[in-house]
Symmetry: C2
C-alpha cells in the first residue's frame, strides 16, 4: 500500500521511559530554540540510525521509544515524517497519555521557512482500515482502529460463543484477502528451503480435524487488575476477552511432516515455530507444542462450521489450543521453523508478565518468558436473585437443596495447557466461606474437553451455583482449580504487572441491593 | 511372612465416619451386655463379609471403617483377631484419636469363658520393621513405623540433597530385597500377557539415562495449612518433605516398547500404567506421561551415582518427574498396562484434594482427581541477619546494592509438570511490597532443568534475596511463578482440604527480634 502508520499500542502508553538522549546534538540550544529543516527530518527515516518524526512544528527523536512501543516496529514507517496522518487513522493515539509520552522526546522546532500557516505539510495516507468488516453492534468496543471489542456477559453463557459475538482482538487492520483457495502459506524449513501450500492444497491433501477450543486474550480481566491495584498499559478488557468455538482445519504436525520436518527425531536446534500474518503480525510457539501428538495445533479454515470470518483470520489461521490467543496467528501467510522465537514485539515484549516490583519505564524485556500456556482463570458472568417459588430450574434447586430465596451465579472457568478444570468454588461473603459450583455438562455432548481424542482439555467449563440469599454479604468471589491443583491468587497486587497481563485473581462482584437478605 | 498389621494411616484418622451398622445382629442387647465367643470372632476374618477385631475384651465390627482407613486394605489382615500385636508394631496408632475412632465400632464383649486375666490371647506377630535400615540422625522424624522423616532446613540449601539426608516417606515397612540383579520386574500387557525383566536385564538391554529431579510429598508444608487454617489428616510435615537427586536408570518408554507396547499408536483403551511395590504399595500414572517422548519417566536403580538406598526403593523404583512423589513407586515389582487407575487407597483416596467445603466424614472420593502434576510451590529455608560490614557475598551485595544491615533469605521453588520457575518474589512486610529474588544457577552446571534434553524442568530452583533491615516488618513471605504464569495462593483457608495435601499458599516466616530494625 506504500503507506505508513503507528500501531495502536502507543495509545496505551502509560510507560515513562528514560529521558531521551540525543544521538547527535549539533548544538547545545534547548529544544525550543533549536531549529531543524524538513529535509534533515526526512533523512531520519527507517533506514537511518536515529528516528525523527514531527507533529505541528515540533520535532521528536523517537529512537529510544521504538523498543517500548506496544505496537512494535510498525512505528518506524512514520520515521522521517509527520505523525498526524497516522494518528488520524489510529485514532486510539489521540489522548493525553500519548501526547505526554511524545513530549519526552521533543528535540527541536521546524525551521519557519518550511512551515505553511505555522505547520509543516503532513502528506496524505490511505486509510488501511477502510475495508475492515462491519461488527455486531452487541460487541463492547474498546478501540475502533484497530478493532478491539469484547463479548458482552450475556453471550458468555453458552458453551459455544456465537461467532458474530466472539471477541475481536486486532493489532492492526484486517487484511483484504478475498480468495480462500488460492491463499498461499509458505513454510520455511530449518535449512531455509521453502514449501508452499494453497488453502486448497491443505484441504485436499490432509485429513480434517475439529477441535472445540477456548481462546483468551492475555488482557482478559485487565480492568479488574487496574481497579484493584494500579494503572496498567493496555485495553481495559472486562470478562469478555474470551470465547469458545469449534475450529476445523488440518493438523499443523501433519503439514510440517509433509513439508519435510522429521517429527520423530527433529534437529535438536529446532526450538520454535514462527508464524507471520498477512498484516505483519508475528508470534511463535515452542516446537514441542507444534509436533506433540496430542498438541492439536490446527491450521484452521473454519469456525463453528462456517468459513473463518475476516475478523478471525479468513481464510487461514493458526489455532494453538491451551496457549494465549496471541499465538493463534490470524491471516496466516508464513511459518518458519527456527532456532529462536519470533523477533516481533508481540513475542519479545508485549505478551509477558513482569513482577510487581518491575516498573514500566525500563523492564529487562528478556527477563520474563513469552506467555504461552495460561494460568487457571474464572469469572462470574451472571448474578440473579431467584425467589423460592420461582426456582424453575429444578436440577439446581435439587443440587443445592434450595428452599429459600437464593442468588444464582453463573460463569466460566478455564485453564491453559490442556489442563482440566476440576473444581470451581464460590464465596458469597468475600472469601470467608466457600461453596462448590456445579460444572455444566454442555460441553460433554461435543467432547467434554474439546479435544478430539480427549487427551487434553481445550475448552472452558461453565458453572452455576446458588447461594441462599441469607448467606450473602460483602462480595461474591469465584476461583477455579485445575488438574495440576493450581489455583487462582486471592488478590491482584502481588501479581500486578505493568502490562496487566493474565489478570487471574479471584473475580469479585459486588452484591447488589437486590441480592442482600431483605 | 504370614503376619498381619494395620497400616500407619489409621493413626492420622481424624475422620469421623457414619456410626456402624451391624450386618447381622443375633440379639438386640446393647454392646456392653452382648457376649461373643472367640471362635465366632475368628470367623469374621478377611474372607468373610464383615470384619471383626478385638482389643482387650472388646469386640469391634470395622467393616464400615475399612474404606476410610488411610492405610488401605492392609487393615484386613487383622480381621478375625486382636489389634494389639499390630499396634505394638505400628505404634503410630497408640493415641486417643485412634481409640476414639475404634470405639465407634464397638459391638460386644468377649465371652468371659475365653478370657485369661480379663483379656483374650493376642498371639504373636513378627515385627516387619525389624529389618528397616538405620537412618541419619539429622532427619526430623514424624513417625518411626513406618519411617517418615523430613530433611532439616539446613540440608535443603544445596541443589542436590545429600542422599542420606533425603526425606523418607514410607507407607509400610522397607522390603527385604537384597539381590539387585536378580530382582524381577513383571510387566503385564493390556492383553494380560506378562513379560519379566530382571534388573540385570534392564541394565544390559536398555540405554541408561540420568535425570536430576525433585521429588515432593503431597504433604509437604501440611503443617503450615494446619496452623493457618484447620486440622488436617496426615503427617505434619514442614518444608522438608522435598528433595532433589540425580536419578539414573532406563527409560520406561523404552522398556514398554520392548515388552510389546506400540508407543506410536497405542490401543485407545489404554489409559493408565499401574505400579506395584514389593511391600504392596500401589499407584498409577496416565499412559500419556509414561510414553511421552519428553516425559522422562525412569526405572531407576541409582541415586546420586550410588545404588538406591533401601529407604528410596532398592533395587528398583519408578521416577516420575514432575508428578507428586507418591507415583514414583519404590521397590518396584510389577507394572500393569490398564484401562483404569490403580485401585489402591493411595490412588483413589489418599492423594486427592477436596474443596474447603468438603468434610472428612463423607467425601465423594471419586469427585476429585488423583494428584499427578503438582502446583507451583516455594519455601523459605533460611533467614539470617547480615551486618553491612559482613557482606562477604559480594555478588549478593552487588545485585541488591546492599550498603546497610540486611536480612538474607534463602529457599527453594518448584513447579510440577515440567514447568520452569520463572520468578520468585519476596515480601519483607506481610505481602505489601515485593522484591524479586535471585534464582541460583547451581543447577545450570548439571542441566538447568534436570532434563537430559532440557525440554522440561524437573528440578527445583533455589533462590536468594536480601532485604535492608529497615524494610522488614511483620512477616517474610515468598511466592513463585511458573512458566504457565501460575502462582501460589495468598492464603491457606480457601484451598484448605481435610487431607492437607498440596499446601502451597505463600510461605510466611515470622521476623525474629534480630531481623527487625534496631
Amino acid at each position: 500500500m506504500g503507506i505508513v502508520f503507528i500501531a495502536a499500542g502507543l495509545a496505551y502508553g502509560l510507560l515513562a521511559p528514560a529521558p531521551p538522549v540525543l544521538a547527535e546534538s549539533p548544538d547545545e540550544l534547548p529544544p525550543n530554540q533549536r531549529l531543524i529543516r524538513l529535509d534533515e527530518i526526512h533523512e531520519h527515516n527507517r533506514t537511518a540510525d536515529t528516528y525523527w518524526v514531527f507533529r505541528g512544528d515540533k520535532v521528536y527523536d523517537i529512537t529510544d521509544w521504538v523498543p517500548n512501543h506496544p505496537g512494535g516496529e510498525v512505528i518506524l514507517r512514520a520515521a522521517g515524517g509527520s505523525l498526524e496522518p497516522y494518528w488520524n487513522i489510529f485514532t486510539i493515539h489521540q489522548k493525553q497519555e500519548v501526547y505526554d509520552v511524545l513530549e519526552q522526546y521533543f528535540i527541536a522546532r521546524i525551521d519557519p521557512r518550511d512551515l505553511v500557516d505555522g505547520k509543516a505539510p503532513t502528506g496524505q495516507v490511505e486509510d488501511p482500515f477502510k475495508n475492515d468488516p462491519i461488527r455486531d453492534s452487541a460487541l463492547i468496543q474498546h478501540s475502533e482502529r484497530p478493532c478491539n471489542s469484547e463479548t458482552p456477559e450475556s453471550e458468555l453463557r453458552s458453551y459455544i460463543t456465537p461467532t458474530e459475538k466472539f471477541y475481536v482482538r486486532n493489532h492492526l487492520w484486517v487484511p483484504d484477502l478475498h480468495e480462500a483457495d488460492s491463499h498461499r502459506l509458505t513454510i520455511e524449513l530449518f535449512d531455509g528451503e521453502e514449501v508452499v501450500y494453497t488453502v486448497a492444497d491443505l484441504r485436499k491433501k490432509f485429513k480434517e480435524y475439529s477441535i472445540t477450543a477456548t481462546l483468551q486474550c492475555s488482557g482478559n480481566r485487565r480492568s479488574h487488575m487496574t481497579q484493584a491495584s494500579r494503572p496498567t498499559v493496555g485495553l481495559q478488557w472486562g470478562v469478555g476477552a474470551i470465547g469458545t468455538a469449534t475450529w476445523t482445519g488440518v493438523r499443523l504436525r501433519d503439514v510440517l511432516a509433509d513439508a519435510g520436518l522429521d517429527l520423530q527425531d527433529p534437529d535438536e536446534d529446532i526450538k520454535h515455530l514462527k508464524f507471520v500474518g498477512a498484516e505483519a503480525y508475528g508470534a511463535s510457539i515452542p516446537i514441542d507444542k507444534a509436533i506433540d501428538r496430542h498438541g492439536d495445533v490446527l491450521l484452521a479454515f473454519s469456525m463453528n462450521g462456517q468459513p473463518l470470518p475476516r475478523d478471525h483470520g479468513f481464510p487461514l489461521r493458526v489455532l494453538v489450543p491451551g496457549h494465549v490467543a496471541a499465538r493463534s496467528v490470524k491471516w496466516l501467510s508464513k511459518i518458519v521453523i527456527s532456532d529462536e522465537e519470533s523477533t516481533s514485539q508481540w513475542q519479545r515484549r508485549d505478551y509477558k508478565c513482569f513482577g510487581p516490583n518491575v516498573r514500566a519505564s525500563h523492564p529487562d524485556w528478556d527477563s520474563a518468558p513469552a506467555i504461552q500456556e495460561t494460568p487457571v482463570q474464572s469469572a462470574i458472568t451472571s448474578v440473579r436473585r431467584v425467589q423460592a417459588d420461582q426456582l424453575l430450574d429444578s436440577a439446581l434447586a435439587r443440587v443445592y437443596g434450595l428452599e429459600e430465596d437464593s442468588v444464582v451465579l453463573e460463569g466460566y472457568a478455564f485453564a491453559g495447557g490442556g489442563r482440566h478444570i476440576v473444581r470451581v468454588d464460590i464465596s458469597p461473603d468475600r472469601g470467608h466461606t466457600w461453596l462448590q459450583a456445579q460444572l455444566q455438562e454442555d460441553g460433554a455432548k461435543m467432547g467434554a474437553s474439546g479435544s478430539p481424542d480427549d487427551h487434553r482439555a481445550w475448552a472452558w467449563r461453565q458453572w452455576r451455583a446458588a447461594v441462599p440469599a441469607t448467606q450473602v454479604s460483602g462480595k461474591f468471589c469465584v476461583k477455579a482449580t485445575d488438574d495440576s491443583y493450581n489455583v487462582q491468587p486471592d488478590t491482584f497486587e502481588p501479581t500486578y504487572n505493568f502490562r496487566g497481563n493474565l489478570a487471574n485473581a479471584w473475580h469479585r462482584v459486588p452484591v447488589s441491593r437486590d441480592d442482600r437478605p431483605s
